[in-house]
Amino acid sequence: MTTTATLSDPNVATTLAACAAPLLAFAAIFLGARRFARLSAGLSIGAVTVSLAGAVFLLAANWHAEAPQVFSASWLVSDAVRIPVGVLLDPISLLMMTVVAVICFLVQIYSLGYMAGDPGFSRYYGFMSLFAWAMLSLTLSSSLFQLYVFWELVGLSSYLLIGFWYEKFSASQAGKKAFVMTRAGDVAFMLGLFVLLVGAGTLDVTAVNGPAAARMNPSLITLSALLIFGGIVGKSAQFPLLTWLPDAMEGPTPVSALLHSATMVAAGVFLFARLFPFFRQSPAAMGVFLVIGTVSMLLSSTMAMVSRDIKQVWAYSTISQLGFMIMGLAAGSFFAGVFHLTTHAGFKALLFLCSGVVIHALDTNDMFEIARKKGRRLKLAMICMTLAAAALAGIPPLSGFFSKESILAALAALDNPIWLAAALLGVLLTAYYAFRLIFIILFPRPELVQPESGRGHGSGHGAGTAMGSALVVLAAATLALGFAAAPLARFLSGDPAAAHPGPHLPWLPYAGIGLAAGGLLLAWFEFGRPAADQKGFVERVPALAALFANRWYIDVFYARLISRLVDRGLAWLCAKTDQRVIDAGLDAASKHIIRSSGVLSALQSGMIQHRLLVLFAVVVMLGLYFIA
């Protein structure tokens, strides 16, 4: 049951204000405030503060709400096509909105320090506001078309922010790649929406999750679920569209923290959770989702094991954790996926922000280089990063442990044990690659450490106040959020028991902890202990290392596909058709017309005697004709 609200309802008014404030900030920055860096930042942060206050108010006000609230107006009415615009306040949207607003706020505060002095400072805050607007509106959308609109807009802001330093070829390339790859997924998403619209007759979220889809033909449900999942695959960088996310690390680090780990890429999982009741009607589609989540999770874990770039490692781990969430959801546990989304947003944003401090101070992304420049001296950042890495690895009592545990529990409930086995393997690998990075930075091999004279620039200053405070808040969240499982479960599904889905297996938490500890110990053995040569077991097999480092050659495949099939194949064919067939055909036709007109014009040569001859001949002929 839903309640329909009006514009004057305090909930709706707060929601609209929370969404509109960043849009106004965006407009103000690009219309006038661009030249004044501090004003732009002030506008943007002020707007996101409004959003944050609104989100917290809404969450508090609706913590015990009975039914979702809907406010709907019409955006566009054509005839059969009606596109409504509205607000849907239910637990998942409120939770996501709060997560987005909190991370947006913290990252914007953090950026005050990180982006200081950048020539594009105002532009940065403008795009950040655009993103905040689009992302908040996405979470609150009441119909799928509206969701699609904002889905594309967060893609746009991602494109603009990845390519923020557009002078760098790699940055603009990565922005383009991100946009085109997610667009490829969105094509499927749009088609899925069309199928759904044709089948169910509406795209209203509550209707699709409820009665409307029940009328649909089951095969149409599967088809549209699979197509919509295409959008999720693109946005959440799942297999096979996963390679844009590591490249997207070309953007400023706060952007990676906000868009490419905590919120935007999680929008895919959010959509899954949003349409969870609908997707669940198609067991076949859920099976496919489970496979894709698992494959992405494992593939990206292997890639993370060989990368030397700290941001890339976290990017791969983002893909892998998103894969976990999708596995949890696809296994049938709504709570597990959403809970992991929430905790992941906290610790992954923390990881990126810590990496940002390190990169800002030492001016390099390479973990060995950071170790050489004594990255461990940046104490606050290193403590927070270790904490977050432990949460990522699933070490109790940090938030990641609890959420991962509920996913494992959900997988254990499945008939086929292979999914649980894969997930446990994933836990092992996650702990291994996360602590590989930490140990490499914390325990540099002594012969590589730069002599003291090379302290160079920046190693003195670590995180400023702005950057440090964001780290502390997120670290606190990472520590505390795990214990919020039961209240969250009650809020999300009305049942505190949802925190522990599936059969009660007493050995499961121990298995999870054991494997995480195993991964950690392996990393310690190879990278941490003083005698370690800091070479992973994967790197001892060159073929495997090359396979992982080249992302299983997925990028090579796409590059070939685009250059062979699209550029040199279809596009070449079309361009040549234009030149050689259509244009050449017309040119040939016009040449023939000119030539044949040349024959006729020979009669009009202007030679008086020819004309006379013709004249006489005609008269003679006529005479003969009339006589005969």
């Binding site: 955006w75 054509s78 059969a80 085109v180 094509v187 749009m190 088609l191 069309f194 279809l570």
Partner: protein, 492 residues
């Protein structure tokens, strides 16, 4: 459909302003270029104001034809001067006004043969305005040809890059189209036996047999379709756009291509609905091929304007697909897309025109790093590109969306292909943006000035229109609905 006659002939006033501007320009001495430009700006601004007034004064509750004016001209042949506007033509009038005004402002720095240029542009736009408001077949044909012939001179004299070839190709193509339209018009007028060129009388159901309609519709579709860039009759469009000077490209791609689509709608579909339904599937096929083909061929282009030319082919394919669905939604989406595409290409060409004016090159490979040198110029270019990619909350998204939905319902395969072309379209346009605007600062262009405030005005107008209709698409959809719903309901 009710017809409301006007107290004040505003429609004729628009034509008279164009004509008056034309004569004023002709009467101004050649040396006073600045005054000529002012006259042009004021006159075009007046027509824009009139178009905006009409757009908002039109009574959507009543619908039908409004602001009508009818004077019998040659009674023995049934030719009358009959102007009126409805929900289909008002967006087009508004589009013409905006593109005309911004086009004039864009050419503010023109120095070569200023007088002739503006005079010819006025003549061109006179024909365009006339065509959009006329409801008499004879006048529609006359206005059509009036708008074609200045094109040749405008491109051949003020153009660039193979301008004679482009001008000749364009003119021949479009005249071929008009050679198909005229016999079809005469055929229908004679076949009706009504001795009238009045569109309203001729479009009564039952005037023509289905066979007649099927025959005439083909001629109309190809004749007007050439101008709308229907595949495979599109090759004049990239060549012509490349050759034309900035304002002419703007008017041409922005408005003239819409004449083609509007002609298919107003003459072809209005007079021959049976033919329309009969050929709809084929129209859908051609349009889909155009959509896919345009983006693919665009991938291979190395010249900025060629790229836009091919993207126009693709975007006009969406208009064609909308028309081919034979549904209200399809019509709405098509007319909306005509409007949105007009504004978008005008912005595209005006920003490319600026880049070309300063750098004297349109070769994508030679450009790069423009965001550093001219941040504003490249910002306009990027906004136009994003509109072309179909980013929501920018105007053309809505037209595409509605057309895609309606075509997906009627022709699932075509709809799927057209949506799929979106991904390739994104690749192709973003690649151009990356190569021209991004990258390290190019020392060759470092000294060039950015868009001045005066030259930014037309571009800002276009951007704000794109955003306005992107955020509030219902402004336009509610208008188009007043025409499309009664029209489709009136079909047998």
């Amino acid at each position: 459909m009710p017809t409301v006659y006007a107290d004040i002939p505003i429609l004729s006033a628009i034509l008279l302003i164009c004509l008056g501007g034309l004569f004023l320009i002709l009467a101004t001495p050649r040396k006073e270029a600045a005054r000529i430009k002012k006259i042009s700006a004021v006159s075009s601004g007046l027509t824009l104001a009139a178009a905006v007034y009409l757009f908002f004064a039109y009574d959507r509750g009543v619908g039908g034809l409004q602001f009508a004016e009818k004077i019998s001209w040659i009674p023995s042949l049934g030719i009358s001067y009959f102007n009126a506007v409805d929900g289909f033509s008002l967006p087009m009038l508004l589009l013409t006004g905006i593109v005309f005004f911004t086009g004039i402002l864009t050419m503010w720095e023109l120095t070569e043969r200023v007088k002739e240029f503006f005079a010819l542009v006025f003549l061109l736009v006179l024909g365009v305005y006339g065509l959009f408001m006329s409801l008499d077949l004879f006048f529609i044909f006359v206005w059509y040809d009036v708008s074609l012939f200045p094109m040749y001179l405008l491109i051949a004299v003020w153009g660039s890059t193979r301008k004679e070839y482009g001008a000749m190709k364009l003119t021949l193509y479009l005249l071929a189209g008009s050679a198909l339209i005229l016999p079809a018009l005469l055929y229908l007028v004679v076949a009706s036996g009504l001795d009238t060129f009045d569109l309203l009388q001729l479009m009564d159901p039952g005037t023509f047999t289905p066979a007649q309609q099927r025959f005439a519709f083909v001629l109309f579709y190809i004749g007007f379709g050439i101008l709308a860039g229907v595949w495979p009759f599109h090759t004049w469009s990239p060549v012509g756009h490349v050759a034309a000077p900035t304002a002419v490209s703007m008017i041409h791609a922005g408005v003239l291509m819409k004449i083609g689509a509007f002609g298919v709608l107003r003459v072809g579909i209005f007079l021959c609905p049976e033919g329309w339904k009969y050929w709809a599937e084929l129209m859908g096929l051609l349009a889909t091929v155009g959509i896919v083909y345009g983006v693919l061929a665009g991938l291979r282009q190395t010249d900025l304007k060629y790229v836009i030319g091919y993207s126009s082919v693709s975007h006009m394919g969406i208009v064609g697909l909308g028309l081919a669905t034979v549904t209200v939604d399809g019509l709405n989406g098509a007319v909306y897309q005509m409007f949105a595409h007009g504004i978008m290409t005008a912005l595209f060409f005006s920003s490319v025109g600026y880049i070309y004016d300063k750098t004297h090159t349109k070769a994508i490979a030679e450009l790069g790093g423009l965001s550093k040198t001219m941040p504003k110029a490249s910002a306009y270019f990027i906004i136009a590109a994003l509109t072309g990619v179909g980013v929501p909350c920018l105007a053309s998204f809505w037209g595409e969306l509605v057309v895609f939905i309606s075509s997906f319902r009627v022709y699932p395969l075509y709809g799927t292909l057209a949506v799929g072309a979106l991904a390739v379209g994104a690749l192709f346009i973003l690649r151009v943006v990356q190569k021209t605007c991004y990258g390290p600062e190019n020392a060759k262009w470092a000294h060039l000035p950015d868009v001045s405030f005066g030259l930014a005005i037309p571009r800002m107008i276009l951007v704000s229109v794109i955003v306005l209709f992107g955020l509030f698409p219902s402004l336009l959809f509610d208008m188009i609905r007043t025409a499309s719903i009664p029209f489709m309901a009136g079909l047998p």
